[in-house]
């Protein structure tokens, strides 16, 4: 493996001098997590980036009619194939580089939602990772199909109220727990897999920088609050991201060549209720008859956190 280049330390002063490559004027809702993810990732990169998105909020809202919010080359094709599309672009780049038609070091990144990653896009993602394309796949996980009107996805947490897992007198929201995609991606034995949160920006950006320095396929799962779907306040995105980390619902860790490292341990692990309470999609869980769901939710989070700590490097 090529030696990893040492990168200059990120400072706010340094970052403030960089150009914003995902501009204002996009049509994403106020308080949306997705553009924050994109901005942080693009700020973190020292190299030119070519990006790809699958169909979703970010794609629709960032290229309305003739306008685009992207100041970098960006490509979209369909819903199920962002990884395949960027794999094609990256392969072409490799050929052109071999022929010395391009001499620049270019990084390939995808920004896809959880519907296009956990569900319909999993096949092409898995294929691209196995073939070993030099790309960083970033999933901004807001836990449902927000673009089409908040339908459940396999990233939707247990008990959440969505339009296709509606809360009624019999069904208490989504009855399945969410898919642990980060673990699935780690099981591909690719060089780098990480989970990050916009509330811990330095951690997120360090992970992006590390990932971009590594040759081969990389995957990052980033929690991206959606106030429309989570039924939360528009100014709560960062707060909810932080609560997700502090309750260990969204642990921050990385898997580098198979070695797990927890990158942030909360000083005091908060109960999951703190994360659920501010979100309207979990409102019904606080009815007496649904107490068991919160209990199960807490147990699932605890078990996952225990397992992670056991498997992680000390």
């Amino acid at each position: 493996m090529a030696p990893v280049r040492t990168l200059p330390v990120l400072t706010l002063k340094e970052l403030s001098k960089k150009e914003d490559l995902f501009t204002h004027g996009h049509r994403l809702c106020s308080g949306c997590g997705a553009p924050i993810v994109v901005k942080m990732v693009l700020f973190a990169s020292d190299h030119p980036v070519v990006a790809c998105s699958s169909t979703g909020c970010l794609e629709v809202s960032s290229c309305i009619s003739q306008h685009t919010a992207w100041k970098i080359p960006w490509i979209h094709s369909a819903f199920e194939n962002a990884a395949a599309t960027v794999a094609g672009v990256e392969s072409m780049y490799r050929v052109l580089k071999k022929k010395h038609r391009i001499n620049k070091e270019i990084k390939f990144v995808t920004f896809c939602g959880d519907g296009g990653t956990y569900d319909i896009g999993l096949q092409s993602l898995s294929g691209a990772m196995e073939r070993g394309h030099d790309m960083l796949y970033i999933c901004y996980d807001n836990g449902a199909y927000m673009n089409t009107g908040i339908q459940r996805s396999s990233a939707t947490p247990l008990g959440a109220d969505t339009t296709t897992s509606p809360v009624g007198s019999v069904i208490p929201g989504k009855t399945q727990q969410r898919k642990n995609l980060t673990r699935i991606m780690a099981a591909h034995d690719i060089p780098y897999v990480a989970q990050a949160s916009i509330s811990h920006w330095l951690d997120l950006m360090k992970k992006v920088r590390k990932a971009l320095e590594i040759k081969g396929p990389k995957f990052m799962n980033i929690l991206s609050p959606c106030n429309r779907g989570w039924r939360s306040r528009t100014d709560d995105a960062i707060l909810l991201s932080r609560l997700a980390v502090d309750t260990c619902y969204w642990p921050l860790y990385e898997v580098e060549n198979g070695a797990i490292r927890i990158t942030f341990k909360p000083k005091e692990k908060k109960p999951i209720v703190d994360f659920l309470k501010p979100q309207g999609r979990f409102k019904h869980l606080f009815r007496p008859e649904n107490e068991w769901i919160i209990k199960k939710f807490q147990e699932d989070v605890d078990r996952e956190w225990e397992r992670l700590q056991k498997e992680a490097l000390p």
Partner: protein
């Protein structure tokens, strides 16, 4: 109730007990409605992880003998076409709803009629046909959905409801006529466990010498029977018309307003509206073809059904076309103007017989 919800409820009333879907605008009301209504009716609702999964779940449910349905919008139907071809090949009854939106590619989310070819000429691989219904108001959404389940069972063939984003999102009154189950052949082919009977088989793979050809001929006979028995259309002021507008679905609805206005002003204009797109009412249209009657096809696409109209007319009358592709909707005034233009249309002055 929105048009999409009308389809969902009509399906439940008609005994549909399995629905698999996947989010795509502008048909989301169908899975959303089914997500609570289907369990209430004692059926199964599944949100699949992709369109491919949804159509193949329908394949499984249909093979088990359940009335099964899936719905999507144009790009999603493209993904489903492989499964639809398999359904047709294995002769499985199912109802597929296409709430069309503008294309090609991701297109947009406004209503369109650009999937006519895909629905009527096959769409997927192989020589197969779907029975295709094109409702033009919510009453027809209700009635034709119920009929679709019956016809699917009768012919053991997938049936498509070809509607669009406009009717799907529309709200208007309708009579929710109760479902009356007709006499249907017993499903003596379903896979329900072969204890105490001969094993059955459902497949679309035929590798033997000439076997697939035989299979295809059987299918073709079935489609021929549909052509003879299932044609549905509605005519408005057809008899004495000098200009006959041919339109289906939402375009027919808009054209009907224009035709009524023109009639009021004394123009001899009529409307011919195919309700089944396959089988296409070609005999009926061909009987209407005569020298001093001209036809104008109005569609929300770049000209698809007009090809079938021309085939039916077979040169006996002039066939003109007006359409707007890409999810654009015309106004009754606009259509009225085009019909009036077609009245004064001089063939020797125009280069083509298309007005766009």
């Amino acid at each position: 109730m929105k048009g999409n919800e009308v389809i969902a409820e009509a399906a439940i009333q008609a005994g549909c007990r399995f629905y698999a879907g996947y989010p795509i605008t502008p048909q989301n009301e169908i899975p959303e409605y089914m997500s609570w209504r289907m369990p209430e009716a004692g059926g199964v609702f599944i949100q699949a992880e992709s369109e491919l999964a949804a159509i193949n779940m329908v394949y499984g449910a249909a093979a088990a003998g359940t009335r099964a349905m899936t719905s999507s919008s144009s790009p999603g139907i493209s993904l489903k076409t492989e499964g639809i071809s398999y359904l047709a090949g294995a002769e499985l009854p199912a109802v597929i709803v296409n709430v069309q939106r503008g294309g090609p590619g991701l297109g947009n989310i406004s209503g369109s009629q650009a999937d006519y070819f895909q629905a009527v000429k096959g769409g997927g691989h192989g020589d197969y046909k779907l029975l295709v219904y094109a409702p033009f108001n919510l009453q027809e959404m209700w009635d034709l959905t119920m009929l679709a389940f019956d016809k699917a069972d009768e012919y053991r063939n997938p049936v498509m409801i070809l509607t669009d984003g406009v009717i799907g999102q529309m709200i208007e009154p309708l009579y929710p006529t109760p479902y009356v189950r007709p006499e249907l052949p017993e499903k003596d082919w379903i896979l329900d466990g072969c204890k105490n009977r001969e094993p059955r088989m459902i497949k679309s793979l035929y590798m033997g010498e000439g076997e697939l050809e035989m299979r295809n001929l059987i299918l073709q006979r079935k489609y021929e029977k549909m052509r003879e028995k299932e044609v549905k259309f509605v005519g408005y002021h057809v008899e004495d018309s000098e200009v006959l507008v041919v339109a289906f679905g939402i375009a027919a609805r808009i054209a009907l307003s224009s035709v009524r206005r023109l009639r009021r002003d004394g123009f001899k204009v009529g409307l011919f509206r195919p309700v089944t797109l396959f089988p296409f009412p070609e005999k009926e249209l061909s009987m209407l073809a005569e020298e001093n009657r001209r036809f104008i096809t109005i569609e929300m696409n770049a000209g698809q059904m007009v090809e079938d109209v021309k085939l039916a007319i077979n040169g006996k009358s002039k066939v003109l076309f007006y359409g707007r592709p890409g999810g654009s909707i015309f106004t009754p005034e606009e259509v009225q103007e085009k019909i009036q233009q077609s009245l004064n249309y001089q063939p020797h002055l125009a280069k083509t017989n298309l007005i766009l």
